[in-house]
C-alpha cells in the first residue's frame, strides 16, 4: 500500500513537472515580447540576454502611434472582424437550420457539397479570387476582406449538427400558433442555439482577427491595412523598429486573449468542436 502511495507521489510530481516545463516554454515568448516593448534598442540587442527591462521605456509605443496609423489599423481589423463574425453567425445558422430541420429537394446535394469543401485548401482560390476582386473593383476595400469569407461550410456543418439535437415539436407548436417560418427561426430556434452561436462566433472572430494571407493580397494602401499586414509592413528596408513592432504585436494580441480568458470554456468547446463531430 505504501509503495503505491509513493508511486502516486512520484508520478504526480513527474507529470505535473513536465507539464509545467511546457507552461514555462509556452509563456516565456509572451513575457519576453511584453518586456521587450519597454526596452530601448541598446537593451533589445544586448548580451548577455536579460528578460526584464532596466526601466519602463515608453518610446517604442510613442513611436508606434506617431509614425504609423496604428489605431486606424486597429479600427479596420475590429470593423471587418465584427462584420465577418456577425454575417458568419447569421448565415450559417440559417443554412444549418434549413439543412437539419426541413425536407427539400437540394438538401442532400448541398450537404455533400459542404462535406467535400471542408477539405479544400484555401490557396487554390487565391489567384482566381484575386482576379475576381479586381473585376469587381473591390481591391483595397473592406468588401474584399469581408464578403468572400462571410460564410464557411464548416460553420454550417457545426450549426447543422447542433440543430439536429433541437426537438422539432417546438417548431411545430410555433407553426400552429401562426408563426412564419422565419419567425420560428428567429424567435424559437435562435434563442435555443446560443451555445452553437458562441462556438461559431468565437471561431469566426479569431479566424478573422488573425487572418493574414488574404488581406495581404487584397489590401494595398497603408491606411487600409489590418493589424497583421500593418505590423508586418513595419519591417522597413533601412530601419527595423523592433521595439515598436513588438509593442504593436502585443496590443494586437490583447483583445483576443482577453476575450479568451473571459470565455475559456466556450473557446475550447469551439476550437475542439470539429474533433468530435467531424
Amino acid at each position: 500500500m505504501s509503495r503505491g502511495k509513493t508511486g502516486h507521489w512520484v508520478s504526480t510530481i513527474l507529470v505535473n513537472g513536465l507539464l509545467l516545463i511546457g507552461v514555462y516554454l509556452l509563456a516565456m515568448p509572451y513575457i519576453f515580447m511584453i518586456a521587450s516593448t519597454f526596452k530601448p534598442n541598446s537593451e533589445l540587442f544586448a548580451f548577455p540576454v536579460r528578460i526584464l527591462p532596466d526601466a519602463l521605456y515608453l518610446e517604442n509605443y510613442r513611436y508606434l502611434f506617431a509614425e504609423y496609423p496604428f489605431w486606424g489599423w486597429y479600427w479596420n481589423t475590429a470593423f471587418t472582424t465584427v462584420i465577418r463574425t456577425v454575417l458568419a453567425m447569421f448565415f450559417s445558422a440559417l443554412a444549418g437550420y434549413a439543412l437539419a430541420k426541413y425536407e427539400f429537394r437540394l438538401k442532400r446535394a448541398i450537404f455533400l457539397l459542404i462535406i467535400i469543401s471542408l477539405m479544400l485548401p484555401f490557396q487554390v482560390l487565391l489567384t482566381p479570387l484575386f482576379i475576381q476582386m479586381a473585376t469587381f473593383q473591390w481591391l483595397d476595400t473592406y468588401w474584399a476582406v469581408i464578403v468572400p469569407f462571410a460564410i464557411s461550410p464548416f460553420f454550417i456543418f457545426l450549426m447543422r449538427q447542433y440543430m439536429l439535437g433541437v426537438p422539432t415539436e417546438l417548431m411545430d407548436a410555433a407553426r400552429i400558433d401562426g408563426c412564419t417560418e422565419f419567425g420560428i427561426f428567429w424567435r424559437v430556434v435562435a434563442p435555443i442555439m446560443q451555445p452553437a452561436f458562441a462556438v461559431v462566433g468565437i471561431l469566426a472572430f479569431t479566424g478573422a482577427w488573425t487572418d493574414y494571407l488574404w488581406p495581404l493580397i487584397v489590401l494595398q494602401s497603408t491606411e487600409n491595412f489590418v493589424l497583421n499586414i500593418g505590423i508586418a509592413s513595419m519591417f522597413g528596408p533601412y530601419r527595423v523598429p523592433y521595439g515598436s513592432i513588438l509593442a504593436g504585436s502585443f496590443l494586437a494580441t490583447l483583445p483576443v486573449v482577453v476575450f479568451f480568458l473571459i470565455m475559456q470554456r466556450q473557446f475550447i468547446a469551439g476550437l475542439t468542436a470539429g474533433a468530435l463531430k467531424g
Binding site: 505535473n16 509545467l20 427539400f104 482560390l125 487565391l126 489567384t127 482566381p128 497583421n228 494580441t253 486573449v257
Partner: protein
C-alpha cells in the same frame, strides 16, 4: 396584397428552406465554386497580369515538374508535414494523457490557458516574437541553451537549422490545440471500460494500446488530417521569419505560390501550383482515411 399574403402563408414552409440556404449558396457559388473551376481553367494559360493570356494546355504542369524551386517547396512542406504528423501529434497525445490524469486536476485551469493561448495568437505576432527568440546572438533560445552548455545555433541564418526552427515554432504553436482535441476524445471514453480492463489485469500500457487508442481512432484521424492541411497551408511564419530562405531552405508551397502569383504576377502558373497543392492534400487525406479504415476492418 391579401392574395399575396395568403399565397405566402400557404407556401412559406416549402419556400423557406431555399431562402434560408440562399445566402450561403449564392456566396459559395460566387466565391468558392466558380473560383475553383476558374482556377483550373486559368492553370492552362500562360497568364501574366490581368491582360496577356495565352492558352498553353498542360505546359504549366509540365514546367512544375522540372521547376527546381517548386520541387524544393514540395520537399520542404512535406518535411514539415511529416514533423507535424509524426512528432507534433504523438507529443500532443502525450500531453493530453497528462491533462486527463487525475493527478493534474489542481493545475488543469493553468494548463488550459497556457497551452491554448498560442492558437489564438496571430501567426504574424508569433513570427515577430520568434524573430527575437531565434536570434543567434541576442535571442532567448540560445541564451537558454547556453545555460546548459550548448553553443549558439544560427537558427534562421543557416540552411540546415532554418527548417528545424520552423518545426520548433510549429510545435510551440499547435501543441496545445492538438492536445485539447485528444483530451476531448479521451474524456469521451467511458470510465467503465478502462476500469474493467484494470480489473481483468491489464496494466497501464495495455489499457492504453488496446482500449484507449482504438476508441480514439476518429480523433487521431481528425488530428492527422488537420496536421496535413495545416502544414500545406503554412505561410505567415516562414514568410516573416526567413522569407523562405536561406537559399530556399524554408520555401513552403504557399510562399512559392505567393511569390509566383503576386510578386511575379504569373497567375496561370500560380493556379497550377494551387491545383497541385489540392492534389497533394487530397491524396494524403485519402491515404490517411484508408489507413484508419483498414485499421478498423482488421480489428473487427
Amino acid at each position: 396584397m391579401a392574395a399575396l399574403s395568403a399565397w405566402w402563408r400557404k407556401h412559406d414552409r416549402a419556400i423557406a428552406p431555399y431562402l434560408f440556404v440562399a445566402p450561403f449558396l449564392v456566396l459559395f457559388f460566387v466565391f468558392s465554386i466558380y473560383p475553383v473551376l476558374y482556377s483550373l481553367y486559368l492553370s492552362f494559360f500562360k497568364a501574366t497580369g490581368l491582360s496577356s493570356w495565352q492558352f498553353i494546355g498542360l505546359e504549366n504542369y509540365a514546367d512544375l515538374l522540372s521547376d527546381r524551386r517548386f520541387i524544393k517547396s514540395v520537399t520542404n512542406t512535406s518535411y514539415y508535414a511529416a514533423a507535424s504528423v509524426f512528432l507534433l501529434s504523438p507529443l500532443a497525445l502525450l500531453v493530453a494523457v497528462g491533462f486527463n490524469a487525475g493527478i493534474t486536476r489542481q493545475l488543469r485551469g493553468l494548463y488550459r490557458v497556457a497551452y491554448f493561448v498560442p492558437v489564438i495568437t496571430s501567426a504574424v505576432v508569433i513570427a515577430m516574437m520568434f524573430r527575437m527568440i531565434f536570434d543567434e546572438q541576442y535571442g532567448l533560445l540560445n541564451a537558454m541553451l547556453g545555460n546548459v552548455g550548448i553553443e549558439p545555433i544560427p537558427w534562421l541564418r543557416s540552411k540546415s537549422w532554418a527548417m528545424p526552427a520552423i518545426v520548433v515554432l510549429g510545435i510551440w504553436t499547435y501543441l496545445g490545440v492538438n492536445a485539447l482535441y485528444f483530451l476531448a476524445g479521451l474524456q469521451n471514453i467511458p470510465h467503465e471500460l478502462t476500469e474493467a480492463a484494470a480489473i481483468d489485469g491489464a496494466n497501464g500500457w495495455q489499457t492504453f494500446f488496446y482500449i484507449t487508442m482504438p476508441i480514439l481512432r476518429p480523433v487521431i484521424m481528425f488530428v492527422v488530417v488537420q496536421a496535413i492541411i495545416g502544414s500545406y497551408n503554412l505561410f505567415a511564419q516562414p514568410l516573416l521569419l526567413t522569407n523562405g530562405g536561406p537559399q530556399d531552405a524554408t520555401l513552403f508551397m504557399t510562399i512559392y505560390l505567393y511569390q509566383v502569383g503576386f510578386q511575379q504576377f504569373k497567375l496561370g502558373y500560380a493556379s497550377a501550383i494551387g491545383y497541385t497543392l489540392v492534389l497533394i492534400v487530397f491524396t494524403l487525406s485519402l491515404i490517411n482515411l484508408l489507413f484508419f479504415g483498414a485499421f478498423r476492418s482488421s480489428e473487427e
